[in-house]
Symmetry: C2
Subunit: 277 residues, 2 copies
């Protein structure tokens, strides 16, 4: 069956084979950029202050160079596509297909020397996330997914990823990068209720937490203040492994903000209900 | 100059050469145990509940097997020495020299699939920490120190470790594994004051935070509820790189509890003062 045509752009969608070939191109792009990031990792990198003043929002040369490398690779292979990147903004396009780049997700982990940051690259068509990749060059791991399947590649080996079957909150391991992600009091208390009902809650992790969720190692990730590029590339990995990713109301997570990611629909429903009670 | 004789045991102390040879034996012992731990890492390991009931304190077969391997190696090479291990308790000895083992520091990270746990092994003589090793087998890193020097070994390369020169709290990056480590209200508020005065505070890390401190990547680690074996093997690594490790009052950290570890004496004094204000 041919893929449906986008009513706005006239674009045909991508079939499974085409999604896989885009995914492999994305893997090459992030793994090519890995050594660039590693040159700056633990090297006494100069930290710029994007926010200026008291608010601390580190951006490094690594961020900028990684994104430039990925944009250059993708621009050559997919010249007509849109691009959204953290550092260099949006390239508009007539195509409904758009690459979404977070050159270094977890810059605070990066500048601290913690190897849990990642290079993120996703492909969207309108409001659909078709494929996503997360690469951690220090550990040599690449997590990739198409919403139908997800894999971890390391040292030339590939393993399929499968989320856990944990369905009750009292058995669930919950992760969140930092409590300051929840700006509204209602979100803070919602997170507190889920944490109190969980078996264990840990902070830290950035994009790596979503990879652990896809691997079945942890069961829930609930975060706030996310940008679209922080979460879009991770959605196909988590969903390809069997998980569910939504915003705080159970709607699309593509806009960022509050994100509730769970190992399976049952646990997701329970977490969402407890978060919003 | 010969090392002083211990008045209680009649033991002679160890010279620098002897400390180094003990350190190398410790490196072999933890690196031999690494593959044992990795067999259980991300393998759907059964989690026992040491505390029983509602309190969650995971202990895995990995913990027990790693400690048994290290005890066996050390027992062969150093038959007269005392041993303190998390899992199998104390072996008393007439010697003032004692090996201190934490087979898997960061079992919560371990069961979550986060590669920031470590195999810890330290050597004490009375109240002195002579040498310490932390091994992270998934990332392939071994951090080691003698209080005079500290190094990171990875992929056949060795680099000397040096803490940062950050002397002001407002420039410091502070780490702590989890806020629940602070049981007393005064400790919680003391930590809150240091965190508020710091450039950045992040949770997570376990033993890995002390390795990042020794590398000069972060500047402060303040934690609570530590057991002696959680911190003893890390002291020679941090101090060998130029840092300072004490308890919450500025005294010896060997007893565990509250630990204040800083990149240098100036920052340590400021953190301690702010913690106790």
């Amino acid at each position: 069956m041919p893929e449906p045509v986008d009513p706005d752009t006239g674009d045909r969608g991508l079939g499974s084979e085409e999604i896989r070939s885009h995914l492999e191109a994305a893997v090459v792009a992030v793994e090519t950029a890995g050594p660039i990031a590693l040159r700056y990792f633990r090297s006494g990198v100069e930290v710029a202050n994007k926010a200026g003043g008291a608010q601390f929002d580190p951006v490094t040369s690594a961020d900028r160079e990684v994104e430039a490398s990925i944009r250059s690779d993708l621009g050559r292979l997919f010249p007509g596509y849109g691009v959204l990147g953290e550092e260099q903004g949006v390239v508009e396009s007539d195509s409904s297909l758009r690459w979404v780049i977070d050159p270094i997700d977890g810059t605070r982990a990066f500048i601290s020397g913690v190897p849990l940051w990642g290079i993120l690259l996703g492909l969207t068509r309108g409001s659909e996330c078709l494929a996503g990749v997360m690469h951690q060059p220090y550990t040599g791991e690449t997590f990739l997914g198409t919403r139908e399947d997800a894999w971890l590649r390391r040292s030339g080996k590939e393993q399929a990823l499968r989320t856990s079957t944990t369905s009750g909150l009292s058995s669930a391991i919950l992760y969140c990068t930092h409590p300051s992600m929840f700006v509204r009091e209602s979100d803070r208390s919602g997170f507190g209720r889920v944490a109190a009902a969980s078996r264990m809650m840990r902070y830290g992790g950035d994009c790596y937490s979503y990879a652990l969720l896809a691997m079945g190692q942890i069961d829930l990730v609930i975060e706030g203040s996310l940008e679209p590029y922080d979460i879009i590339p991770l959605i196909p990995i988590v969903e390809g492994a069997g998980g569910v990713v939504t915003d705080g109301q159970g709607g699309s997570a593509l806009g960022g903000g509050i994100v509730v990611a769970a190992a399976n629909p049952e646990l997701h429903a329970r977490a969402l209900e407890t978060f919003n009670t």
